[in-house]
């Protein structure tokens, strides 16, 4: 691959900034674009001045008949694009010939999918192996050149509710992967495997055990009961803590089935040797009475030592959650005013800015979707509370622009009633759905927001017709990209929020976009295959956009 002289400069800049990244080569080698999960590209060919000329240059139709939520972010390395589909088919495409090089179809065993089948992508190690987590909770290592299985490990027993939907993360010679299943009484964990042998290196449990258990976690001396927090920062959680304490003996074993799925790819900081993980909801979701305590580390951002797998710190956004407002969107590391921070966009509609070394809250930003009646308890008649149970921000990864200090957040506005005690009997429905009921006649919409991480203020917002699920991308030229459920894929000016370009992909563009360099040109890619959970039109195509060949020649 020919590398033009300007690409020698980029790696140096990136190294100074901090996160290990491959953008110097023009590749996109990890789910979040770099170890810090920033989804920020230093590529500069596509600019606010020429983005309006952008056209589809390639379309990879995966040809998969079993459709689901197509949430994949492709990985690109050495002229090959790696894509995964909702039911765990992995495929490699040659970007020069646009031909499929190989495909691997994982033979799924028993599976439970909380929120629709999906897979968000692969990790790649040394250009030789790619790794995919599967719906039946396996981690599969594939030969990057042939797609042949190198090793295959069961990370959790799928019959007990474990599954994997996120893209693994490579740290050195380890592959890091978490599990989903918080709706099904799992005890969540994150595990490091040796990338070559597949041997387990360490396992960190997202539900801390009480003293005496071999997996006891000294950062949670009171186990998952925590500190009996009555508030989330200044906000009253309306807990009956006396009753919870009285019940804690009866439910002494509840931590063993406490949930705490890890939905999304963690971030990693080499200097701190820390992995930053967002931990999902407790189990059972609704019946908070059977899980007294704070339910650590659910709904939390946690820092884990990358060598030992031990907890360094945690910040719980919602202790004892009964609203399903858990921590899902992947954490991001950024330098803010000389301080290294971890940023997380919550389902609560706040962006949390935490000190990366200590986990202390630096600031909670203004809300990026409407809030109302926060943390009011569900009631028999229904309690109107905003945001609804999907957020705020769902799993959608944010992007950050470190030069502006902005985070770009895809948000949902879905007014909901939180109902207890009586629900219409719907055969075959997951009852979670009927506990959080969209209010008929009230408008639902999406908000794409730039949140100033230095001030906590909303810099700009764009309203779109449907609640947003997918994610963001930012580039050094001052562009940010995101998709919509109606198939629109949009480019905005990062500083002003002005819509500069739009293309309709025909199916929901509900995945996080990426960018890469190939053959001297910059491309933007996004999987437009819809979303099962929000009933956005399904499809199976990865769209790759670039400047027209003519424009490239004139540049």
């Amino acid at each position: 691959m020919r590398i033009s002289s300007r690409w020698w400069v980029a790696p140096v800049l990136v190294a100074v900034a901090g996160p290990a990244a491959a953008q110097g080569t023009g590749d996109w080698t990890t789910y979040g674009g770099n170890d810090w999960n920033q989804r920020y590209s230093t590529l500069k060919s596509i600019t606010p001045a020429n983005v309006s000329q952008m056209v589809p240059r390639k379309i990879f139709q995966t040809g998969i008949s079993k459709l689901g939520s197509f949430e994949n972010t492709p990985i690109v390395q050495n002229g090959v694009m790696y894509v995964t589909t909702p039911y765990n088919t992995a495929m490699a495409y040659d970007l020069k010939t646009n031909k499929e090089l190989w495909r691997y179809e994982h033979k799924l065993g028993t599976t439970i999918t909380c929120c629709g089948p999906n897979n968000r992508g692969v990790a790649i190690h040394g250009g030789t192996h790619v790794y995919m987590g599967t719906l039946d909770a396996h981690l599969v290592a594939l030969d990057a050149k042939t797609g042949k299985v190198v090793w295959d490990k069961e990370v959790g027993d799928p019959a007990f509710g474990y599954s994997i939907t996120h893209a693994p993360l490579i740290i050195g010679d380890n592959v890091i992967v978490g599990v989903s299943g918080g709706e099904y009484g799992i005890r969540g964990h994150v595990t490091a495997y040796n990338a070559v042998s597949g041997d387990q290196v360490w396992r960190w449990y997202s539900i801390p055990a009480p003293k005496g258990d071999p997996t006891y976690d000294e950062k949670a001396p009171n186990g998952w009961w925590g500190t009996w927090a009555a508030k989330a920062e200044a906000h009253d959680l309306h807990r009956d803590i006396a009753k919870e304490k009285a019940d804690s003996a009866k439910y002494a074993e509840s931590w063993k089935v406490g949930g705490g799925g890890v939905w999304m790819t963690p971030a990693y900081d080499k200097a701190l040797n820390s992995i930053f993980v967002a931990v999902g909801n407790p189990s059972p979701d609704l019946d908070g009475a059977s899980r007294p305590g704070d339910n650590l580390y659910t709904d939390a951002v946690v820092a884990i030592d990358a060598t030992t797998g031990k907890t360094k710190w945690y910040y719980q956004t919602v202790p004892h959650d009964v609203w399903d407002l858990d921590a899902v969107s992947p954490p991001v590391v950024i330098n803010l005013g000389g301080k290294k921070a971890v940023v997380h966009a919550g389902k609560t509609a706040w962006v949390y800015v935490l000190d990366a070394e200590t986990g202390k809250l630096i600031r909670k930003t203004d809300n990026f979707t409407p809030q109302e009646n926060m943390f009011a308890l569900p009631s028999e008649k229904g309690t109107r509370m905003l945001p609804g149970a999907n957020g705020g921000a769902e799993w959608s990864p944010i992007a950050v622009d470190p030069t502006l200090g902005y985070a770009f957040v895809a948000g949902l506005h879905q007014p909901m009633n939180y109902i207890t005690h009586s629900a219409p009997y719907e055969k075959g429905k997951l009852w979670l759905g009927s506990a959080f009921v969209a209010i008929p006649g009230e408008e639902q919409y999406g908000l794409y927001s730039a949140v100033n991480l230095k001030t906590g203020k909303i810099a700009w917002q764009n309203k779109v017709p449907q609640p947003m699920m997918g994610g963001a991308l930012a580039t050094a030229t001052g562009l940010t990209f995101t998709g919509e459920g109606n198939g629109n894929f949009n480019a905005y000016n990062s500083r002003t929020g002005k819509l500069l370009w739009q293309f309709n992909g025909g199916a929901g563009c509900n995945s996080a976009p990426m960018t890469f360099m190939h053959g001297g040109e910059q491309f933007i890619a996004v999987a437009c295959g819809g979303n099962f959970q929000l009933s956005y039109p399904l499809g199976d195509a990865v769209l790759v956009f670039g400047l027209p060949k003519r424009a490239v020649a004139q540049r």
């Binding site: 439970i112 509710g161 709706e183 099904y184 979701d285 609704l286 019946d287 059977s290 009586s422």
Partner: protein, 133 residues
Amino acid sequence: MAIKQWGWALLLVAGAVTGAAWSRQAPPRHWLGVNGADWRRMDPDVRLAYVEGFLAGAALGQAAATASDSTGVRTAIEKLHRDGGLRFAFGANVYSSRISDFYWWKNHVPLPTWHAFLEVNTALGRPISDTLP
């Protein structure tokens, strides 16, 4: 000695009181009548034990439908488990968690637990029609 006699007497009285209380709390009843109210009274470990018993019984019933003797049943259960063909295919923690949320709704409470199992199973993507022999 006198203390020992008093001790025995106390134990007898305590046993009688406890037994009477137990019999009032849990009178013998047919399993068909066990419902959400009973479920809500169960401690978590009792719930898990109850679910495991249900799963074993369901697997036995499913396997027995295709076998002629106990060896055949054992072979059938092992094959069903291996092939992911068990009607109730998931672990006790999964059913226990989902049934707890099922009975969190007041209007579900009168429904029997076997009904809850069927509904949870359907919600988990295993409707009964898909797993009948």
